[in-house]
């Protein structure tokens, strides 16, 4: 390892370990405050709620989504559903007509493409005390709305994010995402304790309607309006909480190209939004978001990309050595050191142990998240090593692409992503 690489490695890994330790300390401080309710609850009062469902080419999934909303355990007269078709190219609009007779459901059309436009159309038509949205590829647990609403007992709480769970994982990639989402629950809950949540996810985050009156409606925000609104709330000192037992089941990309496109969009959005809200960075008056959340996001992006270059440099060194060897004595495919394992030659450099510590901290976070969501019964599983290995390889690639796009201002849009998926039948 050259000295510059070594230096950067230690800085980046120190910050990464710091972030993980910070979350873990937060966990130990607050773990008794994490509430998971298994049974149905009854609220003292049921405020009125509107759920906006924006759709773009969702003919196959939208009815499931609406059904799950209709099955929410919540008084029918207090729950309004607004479905907004955002100029779909498929038969979404026709499919939606089946719902027209239901008095709980309002069907609208928004011709201006863009999820933020669809959401704002819904907001214009919202008169209830609370409003949320649900992506048309997601479904909700019947208890989730009540559980979320219960968090608004605190008058300062202005929005509550749910726990997003991967729905019916089928292949390795989806299992890996399940593990990733479980880690995200942990991160999100810890950020909630710290008051530093940076995204109110599209699937089923619920807001007080007054939020939009105070800080304005959704913006285009680099196709990640759910990040932008959260940052805008943070900037205005509006509290966001997380309800770990409000489960939302979401479809997850089942192939690498799909996952790649989704992640490029998310991370691109994060970088651009973080840049737009750069004034939050390191400003104590904005709280955790600027001191911890945004910097740690930047650290994880830098760290992962560094890991890629680091791995490449090691690979390059190895290949270069092989080339020299083959020039000297000819090419042998199988090395005999493959068979004669000798512990002496295992690396015992500090960076190896630091990497191990970092991985252990990540796994502890993941297990905490999993325990938070499912209880102990699904505590460990083979998907954790799969997640660690797969994401170590894939994440640097989409991160690099997202960073490249962010620098060159190449937007990756929500509708483009879906058009691509349909055209390529992936």
């Amino acid at each position: 390892m050259t000295s510059i690489f070594g230096f950067v490695f230690y800085i980046v890994s120190f910050l990464a370990v710091y972030v993980q330790v910070f979350l873990l300390v937060t966990f130990f401080e607050n773990r008794k405050k994490i509430i998971i309710r298994k049974d149905a609850i009854t609220l003292h009062e049921y405020p009125t709620v509107t759920i906006i469902v924006p759709c773009y080419n969702e003919e196959k999934t939208v009815l499931n989504t609406i059904d799950s909303l209709l099955e929410l355990d919540y008084p029918k007269d207090k729950l309004q559903i607004i479905v907004v078709d955002n100029a779909s190219k498929d038969t979404t609009w026709e499919v939606l007509q089946n719902l027209a007779s239901n008095p709980q459901i309002k069907i609208l059309q928004e011709t201006k493409i863009g999820k933020h436009n669809a959401l704002n159309k819904g907001l214009e038509n919202t008169q209830t005390e609370f409003v949320g949205c649900l992506d048309a590829d997601s479904t909700v647990h019947p208890e989730s709305l009540k559980r979320i609403i219960s968090y608004f007992v605190n008058a300062d709480t202005m929005a509550v994010a749910p726990s997003i769970v991967v729905r019916n994982p089928k292949n390795i990639l989806q299992y890996a995402q399940r593990a990733e989402y479980d880690m995200a629950h942990y991160n999100k809950k810890m950020l909630a304790f710290l008051g530093g949540i940076h995204v109110t996810p599209g699937p089923f985050s619920i807001f007080r309607k007054t939020v939009f009156e105070k800080i304005g409606i959704y913006r285009k925000a680099h196709h990640t309006e759910d990040q932008e609104i959260a940052l805008r709330m943070q900037k205005n000192g509006l509290k966001i909480d997380h309800c770990p037992d409000a489960y939302v089941y979401t479809g997850s990309p089942n192939s690498i190209p799909k996952l790649y496109r989704q992640r490029v969009r998310w991370i691109y959005g994060f970088i651009r939004n973080a840049f737009d809200y750069r004034e939050l960075f390191f400003r104590p008056k904005y709280g955790t978001i600027g001191i911890f959340t945004l910097p740690s996001g930047i650290i994880s992006i830098t760290g992962t990309i560094f890991l890629l270059f680091f791995s490449f440099s090691r690979l390059y060194e190895y290949v270069a050595k092989k080339v020299i060897e083959s020039q000297a004595v000819g090419f042998h495919i199988v090395g005999d050191n493959l068979f004669s394992f000798n512990a002496f030659f295992l690396s015992t450099k500090a960076f190896v142990f630091i990497s191990i510590i970092l991985y252990i901290l990540v796994v502890i976070g993941l297990l905490n998240g999993r325990k938070m969501i499912y209880g102990r019964e699904k505590y460990t599983s083979w998907d954790i090593p799969v997640f660690l290995v797969l994401y170590s390889i894939l994440a640097p690639i989409w991160l690099l692409k997202a960073v490249y796009n962010a620098i060159t201002s190449h937007e990756a849009s929500w509708s483009d992503e879906r058009d691509y998926l349909i055209e390529n039948k992936v």
């Binding site: 230690y10 120190f14 370990v17 710091y18 330790v21 910070f22 300390v25 300062d156 710290l194 008051g195 530093g196 000192g237 509006l238 509290k239 104590p284 008056k285 904005y286 709280g287 955790t288 001191i291 050595k321 020299i324 060897e325 020039q327 000297a328 004595v329 042998h332 199988v334 090395g335 005999d336 050191n337 068979f339 002496f344 030659f345 690396s347 015992t348 450099k349 500090a350 190896v352 142990f353 630091i354 191990i356 510590i357």
Partner: protein
């Protein structure tokens, strides 16, 4: 208006940021400590091998002195040393590239170099007195600069060692601060501009030399062993 987030941050969090910093430092110190611990274990392993080598060479010398007037046909005790020397060479090479900051690695290398020279001298004596013809190669390389030719030469020598089990290969780092080595460099007139350099049975060749080049200088009668289709590390 101050939100409770901000109040919270002002009240507690700076303290927490510092505590977490200290914990993180602790974890890094632990990583450093573990690294040190295992590196020291490796160094201990190398010391053990060297001690054994040293005893073996001393034993050979003593045996040779005792039996000098008797028949040369007796086992001179040197047969088994080749493997130990090459095992040690591998570990020295590894420690050079892996514990760069470690003085101990250099110290071990000095000791190893002396052992090599001693073994070389003993072998020469046995050859002279008993009329044996055991071939040897002295290999001089540099670590002061990036010497690709040296790396290549190293691979060639590993291969040769494998092909001729009786062949003794002694490798010397030109840049090592050691008076015995300086004497050796002087005797064979090794210059740092002409590295890698080889002394194959007293004949000097410089620059990169392939297996075939070196074989030409070795006696035809040398026992060979078929090279298995595997790679050998230096």
């Amino acid at each position: 208006m101050e939100t409770d987030i901000q109040k919270n941050l002002k009240k507690n969090d700076w303290f927490k940021y510092i505590v977490v910093f200290i914990i993180t430092l602790g974890l890094f110190a632990t990583a450093g400590g573990l690294s040190n611990f295992f590196t020291n274990k490796k160094i201990q392993t190398m010391r053990d091998i060297q001690d054994k080598l040293s005893t073996d060479i001393l034993s050979s010398e003593t045996q040779f002195a005792l039996l000098s007037e008797l028949s040369c046909s007796q086992n001179d005790g040197q047969e088994n040393l080749s493997d130990e020397l090459s095992d040690m060479a591998q570990k020295i090479e590894y420690s050079e590239s892996n514990f760069k900051t470690n003085e101990t690695a250099t110290e071990l290398k000095r000791y190893y170099t002396i052992l090599e020279i001693k073994d070389y001298l003993l072998m020469k004596k046995i050859n002279e007195r008993c009329g044996k013809k055991r071939s040897s190669i002295l290999y001089f390389y540099t670590t002061a600069e990036n010497c690709t030719e040296c790396t290549k030469q190293g691979f060639v020598l590993t291969e040769l060692r494998k092909k001729y089990p009786d062949l003794r290969v002694y490798s010397f780092d030109y840049n090592l601060e050691l008076s015995a080595l300086h004497a050796l460099l002087k005797i064979y007139k090794i210059e740092d501009t002409k590295l890698p350099a080889l002394i194959v049975d007293e004949k000097k060749i410089t620059g990169f030399n392939s297996i075939e080049d070196i074989e030409k200088l070795l006696p035809k009668s040398m026992n060979t062993k078929a090279i298995p289709k595997t790679k050998v590390t230096q």
